[in-house]
């Protein structure tokens, strides 16, 4: 496959895809519009202060983990040697967005770099 053939195949396949999107049925379009409205309704109810929404849950989870670790030491069991155990505690206590942490770390790092100058 030479360069010209590749470009032509790219162009034709993209055009076919675009045409199929344009020809989408009204019922699907309506359901997607409803989905969009449902998502935006959530924004309306929650506002933009989502970071604080996790704080109570994060604090409660941190307390449970801390209590578990304390009991473990009180019972004479060896303390967790793995630093990851404490990193987990930090994450929970930090009230971070759990879904965000589910994404890959490199992606999170990239997103952090995209913050425009003047913020932070």
């Amino acid at each position: 496959m030479n360069e010209d053939e590749m470009r032509e195949l790219e162009r034709k396949s993209r055009a076919a895809f675009d045409a199929s999107v344009e020809a989408g049925d009204a019922a699907t379009g309506s359901r997607l519009a409803q989905a969009r409205a449902a998502a935006l309704t959530e924004l309306r109810h929650r506002g933009l202060g989502r970071a604080t929404a996790w704080l109570p849950a994060g604090a409660a989870a941190a307390a449970i983990v801390a209590a578990f670790l304390w009991q473990r030491e009180e019972a004479g069991m060896p303390a967790a040697q793995d630093p990851a155990a404490y990193e987990d505690l930090d994450i929970v206590a930090g009230g971070e967005d759990f879904d965000l942490l589910g994404e890959d770390a490199d992606f999170v790092a990239w997103a952090a770099e995209q913050v425009p100058d003047g913020v932070g």
């Binding site: 396949s13 076919a16 998502a39 913020v119």
Partner: protein, 207 residues
């Protein structure tokens, strides 16, 4: 008119407006309008891409709705130019989840029916109308897309994703890499292999 004082936060949550009642509400409304435009513009394309990946239009609707909600819930405050790769990252993860669940369902069904989950699937290319009866014509429109979808179903997940994101959605290499969670070099390799496979399967009908 003098600008209202604005304190920039040290987080990714964006600026915090102080000293003006209703400023937060206005900010939310602005974001809501921007998100509405973004989601309206991306919904049909995302649904079509999810349909091709999942080969199920209903599951594709669920995946897109879930991606919309997650984007709004967790990333509304991010700069707008991040929304598209973020949205496709979420959608891709949702598609992967659904595919895994479908695999488990197949395994359970196979167990109860006495078969195996590893039984070879039907070749998707067999389900596509054959254009060989018209050798002087090239594939166009729906026929070409049906053939492409059938070929995509035979590719690896990574190759399929690279093609869907790069060609159909038009993400650049960097955005596709972020949406797929891999390196840019990997995107280029998978995309080229997908194009080779498509060319091999469709080549005789191309000009």
């Amino acid at each position: 008119m003098e600008d209202e004082p604005v304190i920039r936060s040290a987080t990714l949550d964006g600026p915090l407006s102080l000293g003006r009642p209703g400023a937060a509400r206005e900010e939310t409304l602005d974001r809501e309008r921007a998100l509405d435009r973004f989601l309206a513009g991306i919904a049909r394309r995302a649904h079509r891409i999810a349909s091709i990946a999942l080969r199920d239009r209903t599951e594709a609707e669920d995946a897109v709705q879930d991606a919309m909600i997650r984007l709004v819930r967790h990333y509304a405050q991010r700069p707008e130019d991040q929304w598209r790769p973020l949205f496709y990252r979420i959608l891709r993860n949702r598609i992967t989840d659904l595919q895994r669940r479908a695999g488990v369902r197949r395994a359970v069904m196979a167990f109860w029916s006495g078969g195996t989950a590893d039984e070879p699937a039907r070749d998707p290319l067999e389900d596509v109308a054959d254009a060989r009866g018209r050798p002087d014509e090239t594939l166009e429109g729906e026929e070409l897309l049906a053939r492409i979808e059938a070929v995509l179903a035979t590719l690896s997940r990574r190759q399929r994703e690279a093609f869907l994101f790069r060609n159909f959605e038009g993400l650049d290499v960097a955005q596709a890499a972020l949406a797929m969670g891999c390196s840019e070099g990997s995107v280029k390799t998978h995309y080229f292999r997908a194009m080779q496979a498509l060319h091999g399967a469709l080549g005789e009908w191309q000009p």
